[in-house]
Subunit: 266 residues, 2 copies
């Protein structure tokens, strides 16, 4: 799994890159089933919308075998190491639900601002990854990105504790309007199994979802090992303290696990 020179150039200019159908339907069906079981569990790592619907589940790679394998998958890890020129570790791992009918918005924000302010991350040398577990459509709250906005650096933000159940450092309307005038908005869509990667300073957000189509994505952050966080303040299931470089699994590891006979849980 190597990015082409054109893909590398596109990423550095636009701040994002989409690899459609990177994982197979069978691999993703398996992950989607596991995700539903995780949402059904009553764990502190599972955060909910004001409506009670699941919003995000943190750190599932640490307590679920399927997501553990995904978190070390070479199809995901290799391109990021190629772009950073060094090994990476898992800084954050979430499964974002954007539930049918009640999935709430994520206001416009950059992620690196939070990593810097709350976690003490020195540089924006961490990559956001979204892996589609459901089909992402224009109408079920796709991630919206403002291309080239990563060049604006770390923008002034306000801590929004009101709009949704999740506290977020959000950007003001004037800033977003100015950046969208320059770069527009893209909302990559596609079948389950697609992988979207984008720069830690890229401005992004997503609308609510009132459709009957859930839009689950794995949303994780791979940080360059040399860029490990210095002064974490958030719980370690949100901002991980294990800076060990990820050792990738075999390319067929997820598929083999999906096909393995399961031990009866009852």
């Amino acid at each position: 799994m190597k990015l082409t020179p054109e893909q590398v150039e596109f990423f550095h200019r636009e701040g994002w890159l989409f690899l459609p159908e990177l994982f197979s339907q069978e691999e993703v069906d398996f992950l989607a089933r596991e995700a539903v079981a995780i949402y059904d569990a009553d764990r502190p790592e599972v955060w909910r919308e004001k409506s009670g619907a699941p919003r995000t589940a943190f750190a599932a790679h640490l307590y679920n075998e399927a997501f553990g394998v995904l978190g070390a998958h070479p199809r995901m890890i290799d391109p990021i190491e190629q772009l950073f020129g060094e090994k990476v570790y898992m800084h954050q791992f979430k499964i974002n639900a954007k539930a049918a009918f009640t999935g709430d918005v994520w206001q416009w924000h950059q992620d690196y601002g939070t990593w810097k302010r709350d976690d003490g991350m020195p540089e924006p040398r961490a990559m956001n990854i979204a892996i589609f577990l459901d089909e992402v459509m224009p109408i079920n709250g796709p991630l919206m990105l403002v291309p080239q906005s990563q060049t604006a650096g770390d923008l002034k933000a306000s801590h929004d504790l009101e709009t949704t159940s999740y506290p977020l450092w959000t950007l003001d309307e004037e800033t977003v309007t100015r950046l969208v005038k320059q770069g527009g908005i893209v909302a990559p869509t596609g079948k389950p199994g697609g992988m979207l990667m984008f720069h830690g300073n890229l401005v992004h957000g997503s609308s609510g979802n009132i459709t009957p189509y859930p839009r689950k994505i794995v949303y994780l952050t791979l940080n360059a090992v040399s860029n490990y966080i210095r002064t974490p303040t958030r719980p370690d299931y949100i901002a991980h303290r294990d800076f060990t470089p990820i050792q990738t699994v075999a390319d067929d590891a997820l598929l083999r696990l999906a096909r393995a006979p399961r031990q009866a849980a009852e």
Copy 2:
């Protein structure tokens, strides 16, 4: 302006029909400017979101000349008379803002339920019309329609007084899921000037808008004259009592008005 037999057949089967770029850019630019002036006015007909941003302006055709001309425009009226086989009158006339950044959702609903319950309209022989004043994109809260759902008749609904600032008879998730399984969802998009028409029993809704792109539409209802409302309960700026058949203006009336020298208002 005549619909083709194919368009008539499509409408009766699917419950909706979209006519892209029915009004010219110059005509629509004129209307869009007038709409902003209407939203800026402090009138009881202008309803606002919880955020204070405009949500909808009622009855602008009665106090604004440009929208008065639009309300009698043959490009809009003729196709509806053709489908109903009789003259029509204006039952309701709104300009829906779906403001940039803060435009709120319209939950899944049918309109005829409200017309029947609140206005005493005998039959669903009234047509919903949406005329795009801004570009409607997948990402700025387009109307979403459930094709063929008009055949489900008048569905059980609950009065939602909480979700938004606008009271609405909304459908439950099971009903919407079932109808979407049958008919899917379409979200017609396009340049300003497009006109979308759909059946009074067609299930529809729209997501919020967090983009910097406003999505203003004129959203009006033309009722067959014989189907006039019998027992109105809502204010007459919401459910009109003037059942006079609309006499259409000349096809170039809106354009001539847009180009007319304006009297200084100051």
